[in-house]
């Protein structure tokens, strides 16, 4: 082993340990940078971790499948984290109950806008049909969106990428956009963030304000429900 460092690399690069470690350390670094910039929207930790790890994989010629064998332990926690959203919801239940009506109306308006706007814009841009279908569920959290794409025979791995890109762009844009509209109601701001940009928007909302985070989490879960019904309907109506 000692006289052949390459064989050590071959061994390590195929083991889940290396890629799990890389994922955690790169994210820890990008998150520290984000904290050092006082959570500047452009210092989004997911965005920077993504391209750094991606570039590293390309440089070392590692396949995504090999990478994912290690990173899946992190990916798995998306499910339990969704369940965990019950706790902030429980702790803020009184505030949530008092805003139930604006929440449900905004949910309907928002989820219809999310699906219809992306399908119409994608058609307008002349994207191929399978790409349009794969982009349609982009506002809901990764696992759910991939399930919707699968049921329509679209490309779930493209959907995952669209979901993450949407989440990052939403998380970057939400604070400056809301500041410009002059809306200071953190319930409304958080709800919009979670609806449009799922978990990445929710993570951003928790950074800005606890109440915004709670409403964002609710929007994300409710939108997952509504979009599951909405996408197949919108696709039959809107896609040629």
């Amino acid at each position: 082993m000692k006289d052949n460092p390459f064989s050590l690399w071959v061994y390590l690069s195929q083991s889940p340990l290396l890629w799990l470690t890389v994922t955690l350390l790169v994210y820890a670094t990008t998150d520290a940078v984000s904290l050092a910039t006082r959570r500047h929207p452009l210092a989004n930790p997911v965005l920077h971790a993504m391209w750094i790890i991606g570039a590293f994989l390309l440089m070392t010629g590692t396949s995504y499948t090999t990478y994912f064998a290690g990173a899946q332990f992190v990916h798995f926690l998306l499910g339990p984290a969704t369940v965990a959203l019950a706790v902030p919801l429980y702790e803020n239940r009184k505030r949530v109950v008092t805003s139930i009506v604006p929440m449900l109306v905004a949910l309907l308006a928002g989820s219809v806008t999310a699906v219809v706007s992306v399908v119409l814009l994608a058609e307008l841009a002349g994207l191929p049909r399978d790409v349009v279908l794969s982009l349609a569920p982009k506002s809901v959290t990764a696992g759910v969106a991939m399930g919707i794409a699968e049921s329509m025979h679209a490309d779930p791995s493209l959907t995952a990428v669209a979901v993450i890109l949407t989440g990052i762009m939403g998380a970057i844009i939400v604070t400056p956009l809301m500041d410009r509209t002059g809306i200071t109601d953190y319930r409304a701001r958080g709800f919009a963030a979670g609806l449009a940009a799922h978990g990445i928007g929710t993570a951003r909302a928790f950074q800005v304000d606890e109440i915004a985070g709670v409403f964002s989490g609710i929007a994300m879960s409710l939108n997952a429900l509504v979009t599951s019904f909405l996408v197949p309907l919108a696709v039959t109506l809107l896609v040629r």
């Binding site: 994922t23 998150d31 997911v46 971790a49 993504m50 790890i53 991606g54 994989l57 990478y67 994912f68 992190v74 926690l77 998306l78 499910g79 339990p80 969704t82 369940v83 959203l85 019950a86 706790v87 902030p88 919801l89 604006p102 109306v105 905004a106 928002g110 806008t113 706007s117 992306v118 994608a122 994207l127 790409v131 982009l135 982009k138 506002s139 759910v144 791995s157 995952a160 990428v161 669209a162 993450i164 949407t166 762009m169 844009i173 939400v174 509209t181 109601d185 319930r187 409304a188 709800f191 919009a192 449009a196 978990g199 990445i200 993570a203 928790f206 879960s221 997952a224 429900l225 019904f229």
Partner: protein, 127 residues
């Protein structure tokens, strides 16, 4: 801590099982969320339930630990972009523009509807 994590996983497991079993069109973890919420609410009503992870803010602490690093959990799926480089080379700019416009429109539609409805309700209450 361990029991709390176990309870969270159990809620998700039951959620997944029910969704699969009944063919419901909703994601398993969302049903798990509802289940945990019901458990927490039931605990306040029935002292009998306040044991194990449901005592001394056990499950609350574990959940907050998970949510503290919510962004991290999206990194593995995001790195999947390396598989789509050829598609992004041909349609990347259009895809990014479409997604960016759609997310802005969605944010505005949601936040404005929320504000409008809560303002209307407040006016009605005042009357």
């Amino acid at each position: 801590m361990l029991a709390s994590l176990g309870l969270i996983l159990l809620c998700q497991l039951i959620g997944e099982a029910v969704v699969r079993g009944l063919g419901l069109p909703l994601p398993g973890p969302v049903l798990g969320l509802l289940l945990l919420l019901v458990l927490l609410l039931a605990r306040d009503r029935f002292a009998l339930l306040a044991c194990g992870p449901l005592r001394n803010a056990g499950v609350e602490t574990a959940s907050k630990g998970l949510l503290a690093h919510l962004s991290l959990l999206f990194v593995p799926a995001g790195v999947g972009v390396v598989q789509k480089l050829d598609l992004l080379a041909s349609h990347g700019i259009a895809i990014v523009l479409v997604l960016a416009l759609s997310v802005i429109v969605t944010l505005l539609a949601t936040v404005l509807t929320f504000r409008l409805v809560s303002r209307l309700l407040r006016q009605q209450d005042a009357r």
